[in-house]
Symmetry: none
Subunit: 156 residues, 2 copies
Amino acid sequence: MTDESFLGNALNGIDAKGRLSVPAAFREVLAARSDGRTLILAPAERADCLVGYDSSYPAKVRAELEARFAGDYSGARDDHFRATFGAAERVPIDENGRIIVSSAMKGTGEFDRLALFWGMGDYFEVWNPLHFVERPNLDPRAIRIVQRLLDARGTV
Amino acid sequence: MTDESFLGNALNGIDAKGRLSVPAAFREVLAARSDGRTLILAPAERADCLVGYDSSYPAKVRAELEARFAGDYSGARDDHFRATFGAAERVPIDENGRIIVSSAMKGTGEFDRLALFWGMGDYFEVWNPLHFVERPNLDPRAIRIVQRLLDARGTV
DNA sequence: TCATATTCCATAGTTTCCCATTGCCAGCCC
DNA sequence: GGGCTGGCAATGGGAAACTATGGAATATGA
């Protein structure tokens, strides 16, 4: 049984045109979960990074949110839905496995030249790697992995 | 049941391309537990070595974590998922029973030329053998086993 | 028309695949 | 018992395939 979890990580470059390669390992998971020709990008709820998932995932998120806010008819509930769905984008993956990072997403993730893909099991995150390594309370093994990736790129 | 436990040990070489033979005994266990064509490698929690599982592991861990963090929408939950999935890798086993040790994993396990596989029952560990023999409080008989393996390789 | 965005093609460095070689152990025959 | 033989495990090397990425060519829109 081929497992469909997003595992592992990759540090890829964002070029002048905003193009960004989606790691091959993640493209395989996307293809196994849906058609693999698009993915969904959205601001993360609790960190300055993006979350990415296959196109079948929003339905699941909606179900989760509705359970979480069951019986809650406050403005907070609506604000949560606004942040989750309205700010998300459906992004096509081109023939070379790349996506275009819109300027809105670039702003949300505060990206520079590099994007760190990080598997989260059911979905993945896309980080500015410099923010990732400075995140407090994160497992030092994860931080060390990213620091080595940055070193390999010659970034200090 | 019995043939689904990782038992025993092996000292294998990592070649210039990062290739590493998985011991045949472990491959059999992997095949009994899942399809035997991939395994999962991750940093160990309390030692500078790697842990290896069969490929059914991510689904299991995902279910466990989701149960454990049910109703928890904090950053701590996210950090836990980050450490669990992003730092792990799915690694294919080739026709000759070998895997490729990525540079990230090489860094995490601090490997040189040799890798020591050590059965842990439900999973196995992969060590730099030189670190293994210097670990304090470890059963001296285990250390002697590894020292003999190193001697057989002509490594001092 | 010019700038911006999208599609297409090129390439360098890996990674993957395939096949060859070595060494070990078991079983077998003489 | 000693030595031959066959199978499997581990390892090495070369070639093909693929990933990530850069640049050119074409389309789109203000």
